[in-house]
Symmetry: C2
């Protein structure tokens, strides 16, 4: 995945926590199924959940992670064939779907030299690790950033902390300008593409990104291979595409990268940086940062290397950085399998996971791929026993997610019309397993489904339900001063994985989930089978649990009489977002600049109508009122689509969702009510007014849509 879910959840801890009355789940009913049909569904689900096995998940992962398989390579192609053939062996119709997209590999090893009173060549590779057999592979890609520019620069170095706008503010306050300099920034607090863009905007001629041991190394715990955390000689690869501008193939924004679609000139693609960007390990970072002169670091800049950081900027310490990128149109391969539905064949429930990895990708993403194969095997078994889903199930193995959600974006762009009309939901799984702690992000309409399903799956370690364990683990992280008991928290969808085109471009209700843990080898050569076998999921029981949860969610969405969407939760979530943003606007003396009342009224109406539809749905399910359910289901599928505004967000039209999108600087994290919030950050009152009007319009459209079902 492009991002780490754990980091995202931390960033989202500002999201409100909702308190629900706790009640024991009623064993007789599953939301959306009548009492009678619940019995069949329970049997079916139990059959399904008995099929995924640790041994076969482990074997899939071993097969998938034997070689580095970056998007567009023959090793990547081999994994596509493996997945397709596995799908077929389970009895599913599956095919490869190819796109031609703009990708870079390093043509030669990047050059990094430290120039002080002497010249010293610095490492851009990761060391072999005793015990981990794949760590010695000669095929391991050097440390590089996807979509870095080619460049050859020599300049003084400035340490710019996390490389975000406020960091450059702090540098200015101590009199340091980065114009014409090379910045070294640490990973964390946002997506690396943001760091690259901000560095370029600030006038830096190059950007080095490293993993500081305070965030991602020994200060988190024992380092690999003694423990699961990042060792000194490990770096984090990853894309520096301006994902917040648009994802997918940089040369075909909004359109599929298929033959016949015209390409932008690369220099016209607005989601690409123009400066060389290079990731390094923290021992290499130490040799750059330790000799820096200049002012001592401002507050918040100190990391975990054992000396007082200075910000540099003087001639005393310079770097020579040379990157030589091989940019080309390259083929990538999605694998798509379909299980045709019965009564609602046109309606699609889509499961997706990407398959490409920066190196071996045991956690990211192939724990998800192994999980998907277990789910497919389960569906195949059910099919053999005569089951047929009401709605069509689609399983997608995406390619080139790491470069910028490319496989999913191109597919969504190609099938936009069908998806807009018929997609029920998109269920994403990226790094499915890096430990035992369940976490999820989702549109609020699917919160109840996630919670319900996790109540029906056992946590392998504790024997409690996954839900119970998830809630307990959430609680551990809270202080005594936090009064909130209640439900396990579910984050907001920002960006960084393949739900983005579905939700934020088309308005398809989406979820993202995984089991997280002490994952200190993200985007390194040590995200390997050996690591998974020893730290992430020894025994592979969490792969099985992930398959059980994912598959059960899909089954319920595919078979429910009345789709289990709850828009009352969505309404309360939007209310919370808005209240929080209003508070912010008050602190900034911007409160009078927009129509607060209109928004509150729109939320109220939406909430009221949501409640009405929910009651109608419950009644229709209970009474088996098929005609009514057809209307209601059609409505429920349409509601999220109303949050799409065809005009797109301000300055980045590909993003069209009015509630959820990544912020321009927040990176992976969602910035809910995006443009409205951005306008407040920019202190632009006319933008704030207009953005809120668009949100109000979207809410009104959604309310009107809901009315169709309750009328």
């Amino acid at each position: 995945m492009m991002r780490r879910l754990i980091a995202c959840l931390l960033l989202l801890s500002v999201a409100p926590i909702f308190v629900y009355p706790q009640s024991a789940p009623d064993p007789r009913s599953i939301d959306g199924f009548s009492t009678q049909r619940t019995l069949d569904e329970r049997q079916l689900e139990e059959k399904f959940r008995a099929i995924p096995s640790p041994a076969s998940a482990r074997e899939h992962l071993r097969q998938l992670t034997m070689e580095p398989h970056i998007a567009g390579t023959k090793e990547d192609y081999a994994t596509a064939i493996y997945v397709r053939d596995q799908f077929k062996s389970f009895g599913l119709a599956a095919e490869l779907k190819e796109y031609e997209v703009w990708l870079n590999y390093p043509k030669t090893l990047p050059v990094l030299e430290l120039i002080t009173n002497r010249r010293q060549k610095l490492s851009v590779t990761e060391a072999a690790v005793p015990g981990d057999p794949t760590s010695t592979s000669p095929k391991i890609t050097p440390l590089f950033n996807g979509y870095s520019a080619t460049g050859d620069v020599t300049a003084p170095v400035v340490y710019a902390n996390y490389g975000l706008p406020n960091d450059y503010e702090a540098l200015k306050n101590v009199g340091v300008d980065v114009k014409g300099k090379i910045v070294i920034v640490r990973y964390g607090n946002s997506f690396r593409g943001v760091k690259a863009k901000v560095a370029q905007d600030q006038g830096a001629v190059g950007c080095i990104i490293y993993s500081d041991p305070a965030d991602d190394g020994y200060m988190q715990g024992d380092v690999y291979p003694k423990g699961p955390w990042r060792p000194v000689a490990s770096g984090q690869r990853g894309s520096v595409q301006y994902l917040f501008d648009y994802p997918g193939d940089p040369l075909t924004p909004g359109r599929p990268a298929i033959p016949g679609v015209p390409r932008l000139k690369p220099e016209d693609a607005t989601d690409l940086t123009r400066i060389p960007v290079q990731p390094i390990s923290y021992d290499v970072a130490r040799s750059i940062i330790q000799p820096l002169a200049g002012p001592v670091r401002p507050r918040g800049f100190q990391g975990g290397l054992p000396f007082a950081y200075h910000v540099g900027g003087t001639e005393a310490v310079k770097l020579h950085l040379k990157t030589d990128m091989d940019y080309k149109q390259r083929p990538i391969w999605n694998v798509v399998a379909r299980i045709p539905g019965d009564s609602e064949k046109d309606h699609l429930v889509i499961l997706g996971n990407h398959r490409d990895a920066w190196v071996f990708g045991a956690v990211d993403p192939n724990s998800g791929t192994a999980t998907m194969l277990e789910v497919a095997k389960g569906f195949g078994e059910l099919l053999k026993q005569g089951w047929k889903p009401n709605r069509t199930l689609v399983l997608c193995s995406w390619d080139a997610e790491e470069y910028g959600l490319i496989g999913s974006t191109e597919w969504v762009e190609e099938n936009a019309a069908e998806l807009k009309a018929n997609a029920v939901a998109y269920l994403n799984l990226d790094a499915a397993v890096s430990g035992p702690h369940f976490g999820a992000s989702s549109v609020p309409s699917l919160w109840k489904l996630i919670r319900d399903v996790t109540k029906d799956v056992k946590d392998p370690k504790t024997g409690k339900s996954v839900y119970q364990q998830w809630q307990d683990h959430n609680r551990e992280g809270r202080s005594e001063t936090d009064d909130s008991a209640g439900e396990a928290r579910i984050g907001s969808l920002g960006s960084g994985s393949d739900y983005t085109p579905f939700l934020q471009h088309l308005g398809v209700p989406s979820t993202d989930m995984g089991f997280n843990g002490d994952y200190g080898v993200y985007h390194s050569a040590y995200d390997s089978f050996y690591w998974m076998d020893h730290f992430g999921d020894p025994g592979f029981l969490y792969h099985v649990a992930a398959a059980q949860i994912w598959g059960t969610m899909a089954l319920r969405l595919a078979d429910a009489d009345g789709l289990p969407f709850d828009y009352a939760d969505y309404a309360s979530q939007i209310r919370e977002f808005f209240n929080e943003t209003v508070r912010l606007s008050r602190r900034r003396n911007l409160a009078g600049s927009f129509d607060e009342k209109a928004m509150m009224a729109a939320i109220d109406d939406f909430a009221k109508e949501s409640g009405r539809v929910e009651r109608a749905r419950q009644d229709a399910v209970r009474n088996g009122d098929t005609a009514k359910l057809k209307t209601i289901n059609g409505t429920l599928i349409d509601v999220e689509r109303q949050f799409i505004d065809a005009r797109g967000l301000r300055g980045r039209v590909w993003y069209k969702h009015q509630i959820y999108a990544p912020g321009i600087y927040t990176g992976y994290a969602a910035q809910p009510l995006t443009d409205f919030r951005q306008a407040l950050d920019d202190r632009n009152t006319s933008n704030a007014k207009e953005s809120l009007e668009r949100i109000v319009d979207a809410l009104r459209r959604a309310t009107t849509t809901l009315k169709q079902a309750s009328d």
Copy 2:
């Protein structure tokens, strides 16, 4: 000082912030003086403030810090003579006051050996530092803790984080018991005496305390001599007396350590630890912690040394610790100067600062001593010009503060009757200057005085008033989400300096102040004249500002017609404390266990009566109603005394104040409404009820007292 003010202020950041209307100070009036008398007072103050000079402050500091001067030594005696003679040279009557108290020095160098597969002797001294001439002195005391026990122990080591109860809880949760082991704990988050007691209570046989670079070393900034922060080979000396039980001479609790007063047997003194406790530097700590096996550190345990901490507890890493303490009755010397008052001769305004230091003590405490000498010089000048204060001024240079506030406590215990009857206020200054940032802690009745005076003194660096700069600096530390504008914040008095016997034993209104900065040499050999000259206060202008503030406060208290005490502020502060504690009790489901209404009523009455007295005072000052003012002043002196309950706090009867005391585990930090809060922490509802009743009684007594003035 026994504590660092900066740490204390951080701990106190939970204290509520009060918002006052901001208005330009009225140049015509000083609180407590009639319009007419204000003119004279302004002239007098301006005369006074012109006298302190950087050059003479610098010279005093140089003289005072030439040699290490631990309490009870001949070098300490020499500083007493110096201070007395300076007082005399300014025309003040001054005398030495000697007590015989129980003190320890290391008889021989402590022995510390690391036992792994080999035996390695570890350093218990601090290295010489290039440039700092006193750092090479052979007289520098080795690293040791005041009131450590003599002991010789060999045992496995456990790393116990900050050594507080919740840290041992966390160790238990990972299966590590410290019984029979030596714990190594880091400084910070509480007073070191708490760490010693908790270690002993947990069954540890020895306790090592070190300064972690995350809290007090390179992670804070450049280390000495490049910068002001603690270098790798520096450790923090200090007392491990159980200050929270009682301060002063351990063998004469509650009574003065003078001839004829019987002494406890040392083994009966309840404020002494029975295990050896030893401070070390962080490079020595590194050699102990790095090899530790056992579980990886629990959350919050990681410090700034460059590896993942483990908690140890296995036979693989042991320590041999041998301390040989020379305990004796030793003489200490306070220096006390008096400037007799005129119309209210009996009433005392007391200024105090300690003089003894663990080594050279340039910041702690002799920046305060140099400041006191500048104040004394100023008073001497005024006297020569014919001035005589209304009330008697007393200047006290305390000894043996470092061991446990001994000089001040013995003097207070000796003069308890006079002080109870006549003390107007006690104004403490300990480490007066370590940088440019003003900070203060105080009883709320004196908040206005502190704010008023700092508005009349210029900040040397910015030219703004000290008040303005203080407020601006407070603001910098606040996030955008903090709505509070308003007055600069003043902390609560906990313990750790000489105000404790005055306020918490007798109920004398007290303040503590200082200019703080990047002070990374606390209780080390590098707290030297060279450090001050290069980092703390190059130019010595903040010494002058400190003298101006302190002296002006004393002058106003000595000369005011109507004493500038505001008990309305005290009432709101108590209300805040109570509201906060009630919220805590709700979270713990203990809210019904005490009489909330009675307390709210008592606060309301106290607030109402405070307002009435304040109006009466203002009227009487305006009208020059001398008779009325005599009554009002007598009342204002008596109010704080009503917060004293002769029965003392639960289990530690020396502490008698019902609002302010250090908590048992909070160390330096105040735990307001002490026993009530402690009962809630213990979840003891009958204690909570009874403790709150005592507080309510105290408030009622204070209200009754106030009524005498408004009747």
